[in-house]
Symmetry: C2
Subunit: 156 residues, 2 copies
C-alpha cells in the first residue's frame, strides 16, 4: 500500500491576467508559463514549439488542507446538480490539489511559454508541462452526465 | 518564484498484469485502480461510473532521481529522431515524475476502479483520478511533429 509521502518542486509558475478564483470564461485568456526551476536547462523546452497544444499539470496552492473534499458534494454547491464524489468531478478542492488542463500553445521564448486557455490563475505553481498528442486523446466516444455539460457550458 | 516543496500522498495504487517497463501495446490492457487512502471516504467515487473515460495522474516511482532528464534527449534514444526537450516529450524520466493518461472506465466496485488502456505498471502510485469531459479536450486541431506519431504508432 503506497502510503509513502512524495515530494515535488514546482518547475515554474503561471503569469496570468486572471487573479481571482472565478470559474468561467477561460477560453480567451492568454497567460505565460515561466520555467523557473534552476535544475532545468534551457534545452528542456527544445522542440516544444512544434506542438499546437500542451497539457499543464499545476498545483492549486490557494486551496488549504481544510478545504479539501474527502467525500462527495454538489458541484459548485448547486442544488439542482447531484451529489458527486470528488474523484468524479474536477473541482480544485481535491486530494493532492493537482490540476491538469490542456491549452493552446502560442509561442515559446527562452523559458517563457505563452499559452491560450489555461485555467490557472496568476502565481499558480506549475509541476509539469507535456505536449498534447492525438494518440493520448480518449479512444472511443466520451460520454458524461448532463450536469457536467451544464457546468462546462461557459467554462471556455 | 515558487521554490517551496510540495508534499503529496498517493490516493491509491494500480494493480495491473503489466509489470515491466515496456513501451507499447497498452490499448488492450485491463487494470484496476485501488483507492487506498484512509482519508478518502467511499463516496469520493460516487457517480464516477457515469463517465466513460478517466484521466489518471500517477507517479513514476521506478524512475530514480538520477534518471531524471533535465535537458534534451532523443525520444527512446532513437538516432533517427531529433533531440527534444524533456518538456516536449512524455517520457517518464521527467521532473516531478508525474504521468497523466486517459483510459476507458470499465466499472467501479466499491473502492476499485476497473479500466482499460491505462499505461501504468503494477504497483504504480496514483495521485489523482479525474473524469474526462469533452469540454476539456483540446480546442482546435492538434498538430505535432512526425517523430511523435512514429513513436506512438504501436503505443495503444
Amino acid at each position: 500500500m503506497p502510503t509513502d509521502t512524495i515530494t515535488m518542486t514546482p518547475i515554474g509558475v503561471v503569469s496570468s491576467p486572471r487573479t481571482d478564483l472565478s470559474d468561467d470564461d477561460w477560453g480567451s485568456v492568454e497567460s505565460t508559463i515561466i520555467i523557473t526551476s534552476p535544475d532545468l536547462r534551457d534545452d528542456a523546452l527544445l522542440g516544444l514549439d512544434t506542438f499546437s497544444h500542451l497539457d499543464v499539470v499545476f498545483y492549486f496552492n490557494r486551496v488549504t488542507a481544510d478545504d479539501i473534499e474527502h467525500g462527495a458534494r454538489r458541484p459548485r454547491g448547486r442544488q439542482e446538480w447531484p451529489l458527486v464524489g470528488i474523484l468524479a468531478q474536477r473541482a480544485k478542492a481535491r486530494p493532492n490539489r493537482i490540476g491538469v488542463s490542456c491549452c493552446r500553445l502560442i509561442s515559446v521564448n527562452g523559458r517563457e511559454i505563452r499559452v491560450q486557455g489555461l485555467d490557472a490563475i496568476n502565481h499558480t505553481p506549475v509541476l509539469d508541462v507535456k505536449p498534447c498528442m492525438r494518440e493520448f486523446q480518449p479512444i472511443g466516444d466520451v460520454t458524461q452526465p448532463a450536469w457536467s455539460h451544464e457546468l462546462m457550458k461557459d467554462y471556455y
